[in-house]
C-alpha cells in the first residue's frame, strides 16, 4: 500500500545564510495493507518529517513515495488532494479548523467531502464522538474553545471518520487518559482489521507494542554528521 524508496530531504534556509540542512537520506520502507509500522528514533531523527513527506506536506528532494500507486514526489497537487480525500488519512498532533464550525461538522467533514450522505456522515461523527467521550453538550460548539485533550480527541474522531485505506498517525495517544487511549488503540486495530496500512509515531511504548507489527528506526536514515560540514 505504501512504498518508500531512497527518499532524501534537505532544508535550505535562504534567509539564514542559505544554510542547507540534510535531514534524511536513503529512507526506504514498505507497509502492506492491514499492517502497522511504528517509526522510532530520537527526537529530531526525522519521524515527523518522513510522515509529512508521505502526506505531501513536505517536498522530498529525491526518491519515490508510492501510496496506492500514486507517487507523491512527482504527483500534481490535485492528485495529492484526491489521494488525501479518498485514500490517505493523517492525524496530526494539532487540530486546525475554521473557527465557528460545530464539532459534529468538523468530524463529519472528511465524509461530506467525498460525497457521503449527510445523515450517514453525521451519524458516524456522533458514534466516534461518543466513543471518544466528548460530551454531547459540546457537539454543537466549535472545538476551538475546547481543552487540549478534547481537541486531540476531536482530531482523532475526524481522522477516523472516513475509512482510509492508508493512515498516518502522529502521536495519536499522547496526553490521553487510560480510557481514551484504549479507545484510540481499538480504533487503530479496527482500521488494521479492515485492511488499512498504518504508519504511526508512538512515544508511548505500551501503545506501540499493542498495535505495531514492526518498528522502523528512522535514525538510520539520518545523514552522518560529516555531511553537515
Amino acid at each position: 500500500m505504501i512504498h518508500i524508496e531512497n527518499v532524501s530531504k534537505t532544508f535550505t534556509l535562504h534567509n539564514q545564510g542559505s544554510a542547507a540542512i540534510p535531514v534524511m537520506t536513503g529512507a526506504t520502507l514498505s507497509v502492506a495493507a492491514g499492517e502497522c509500522v511504528a517509526l522510532t528514533g530520537n527526537s529530531g531523527a526525522g519521524k515527523s518529517t518522513l510522515m509529512r513527506m508521505i502526506y505531501g506536506n513536505y517536498l522530498a528532494a529525491s526518491g519515490r513515495i508510492e501510496v496506492d500507486g500514486t507517487d507523491i514526489v512527482t504527483a500534481e497537487p490535485r492528485e495529492i488532494l484526491a489521494l488525501r480525500r479518498q485514500t490517505l488519512g493523517y492525524v496530526s498532533q494539532f487540530l486546525r479548523v475554521v473557527p465557528r464550525v460545530p464539532t459534529l461538522e468538523v468530524v463529519a467533514e472528511p465524509l461530506l467531502a467525498i460525497g457521503t450522505d449527510r445523515a450517514i456522515a453525521l451519524a458516524r461523527a456522533e458514534e466516534l464522538l461518543h466513543r471518544l467521550n466528548i460530551p454531547e453538550t459540546l457537539w454543537t460548539l466549535s472545538p476551538t474553545t475546547f481543552s487540549g485533550g478534547e481537541q486531540q480527541r476531536v482530531n482523532i474522531a475526524r481522522g477516523f471518520a472516513h475509512t482510509y485505506p492508508a493512515m498516518l498517525l502522529d502521536e495519536p495517544t499522547a496526553s490521553l487518559d487510560a480510557t481514551n487511549r484504549a479507545t484510540v488503540l481499538t480504533l487503530i486495530e479496527e482500521a488494521k482489521a479492515r485492511g488499512a496500512a498504518v504508519i504511526g509515531i508512538f512515544h508511548d511504548v505500551e501503545a506501540r507494542e499493542r498495535v505495531a507489527d514492526r518498528e522502523v528506526d528512522v535514525s538510520v536514515f539520518t545523514p552522518k554528521r560529516e555531511a553537515l560540514q
Binding site: 490535485r78 475554521v98 465557528r100
Partner: protein, 256 residues
C-alpha cells in the same frame, strides 16, 4: 478531467513596469486557488487580467464554456464577456461597495443579477433573493433595506449572495475578508467554504492573509514583482516553502 480555466503565459505591463508576467496555471472544477504576495506583487493585476477587467498584453485565458468548449477570453466579444460575467463568472470585490448597488435594496441587489439572465417573475425573484439572503445569514426582514444600512460584514455577505445567485462556476475574490473584524472574517470563511463545497465552485482568491488561504485554498501561487515564484499544495507551500521570498513571507507571520 479537463480544466475549467487554463492560463498560458499571461503578461500585463503598465508602460515599462511589469504588472504580472509569465503566468501559467490550470484550474480544475471544484478547486480553490489562492494567490498571495505583498502589496504591489501583481496579484490584483493578475486577478483583474483573468476576469477581463484589465486588458492583458499577451497570453491566453482559456475558459471551458458550457456550450462551446474552450474559449480564449481575450478573443471574445465584449457582449459575450459581459454575459459570461453575469452567468458563469462572479467577482467578489474587497470593498463590498464596489460590487453592490448601494441605492437599491438588499433583495434588489440579488434579484438584479437574476433579471440580467432573464428571470421575469417578481414572486420567484423575490423568493430566490430571500433564500440567498438566508444562506448568507441575512434575515428576511432586512430584504427591503438598502446595503448602506448594513454593517461591513453584512455588506460583504450580501455581495457574495448577489454573485452566487446565478450559480456561477468560477468565482474571483479580491481580499474577500480584508477590512473585516476577525470574528466576522471567521463567519465569512465558514460560509465561503461551505458554499464552495455545496456548489462545487472553482475559485481564485487573492489575499495577503496566509491564514485565510490555509483554510480556503487547495493550491497556492506566491507572487513577487509580477512573477509567480512558487506554487503548489497550500499546506506544502506554507509548511515547506522553497523560494527565499516564500520563506520570508511565512516566517514573518506573527504568532498569536
Amino acid at each position: 478531467m479537463t480544466p475549467l480555466l487554463s492560463v498560458r503565459d499571461l503578461h500585463k505591463s503598465y508602460g515599462s513596469r511589469i504588472g504580472c508576467t509569465g503566468v501559467n496555471f490550470d484550474l480544475y472544477p471544484g478547486e480553490v486557488l489562492g494567490i498571495v504576495g505583498e502589496s504591489g506583487s501583481g496579484k490584483s493585476t493578475l486577478l483583474n487580467a483573468l476576469a477581463g477587467h484589465l486588458e492583458a498584453d499577451h497570453g491566453e485565458v482559456l475558459f471551458q464554456t458550457r456550450h462551446e468548449g474552450l474559449r480564449d477570453m481575450r478573443l471574445m466579444s465584449e457582449a459575450e464577456r459581459r454575459m459570461l460575467s453575469r452567468t458563469d463568472w462572479a467577482f467578489v470585490h474587497q470593498h463590498a461597495r464596489d460590487g453592490l448597488r448601494m441605492s437599491v435594496s438588499a433583495g434588489g441587489n440579488v434579484g438584479e443579477r437574476l433579471m440580467a439572465v432573464g428571470a421575469r417573475n417578481y414572486g420567484d425573484i423575490r423568493a430566490q433573493a430571500i433564500d440567498w439572503l438566508g444562506r448568507v445569514e441575512i434575515s428576511e426582514d432586512r430584504v427591503d433595506d438598502r446595503p448602506s444600512a448594513f454593517s461591513g460584514g453584512m455588506q460583504q455577505r450580501l455581495q457574495i449572495a448577489r454573485n452566487l445567485v446565478t450559480g456561477p462556476r468560477l468565482v474571483f475574490m479580491d481580499e474577500p475578508t480584508g477590512g473585516l473584524d476577525v470574528s466576522v472574517q471567521a463567519r465569512l470563511l465558514d460560509l465561503l467554504r461551505s458554499l464552495v463545497r455545496e456548489m462545487g465552485l472553482s475559485a481564485i482568491i487573492v489575499t495577503h492573509d496566509l491564514a485565510v488561504v490555509r483554510l480556503l485554498a487547495d493550491r497556492l501561487m506566491v507572487m513577487k514583482s509580477g512573477h509567480v515564484v512558487e506554487s503548489g499544495l497550500t499546506d506544502q507551500v506554507l509548511d515547506d516553502p522553497q523560494h527565499p521570498y516564500t520563506q520570508l513571507l511565512v516566517s514573518s507571520i506573527l504568532q498569536v
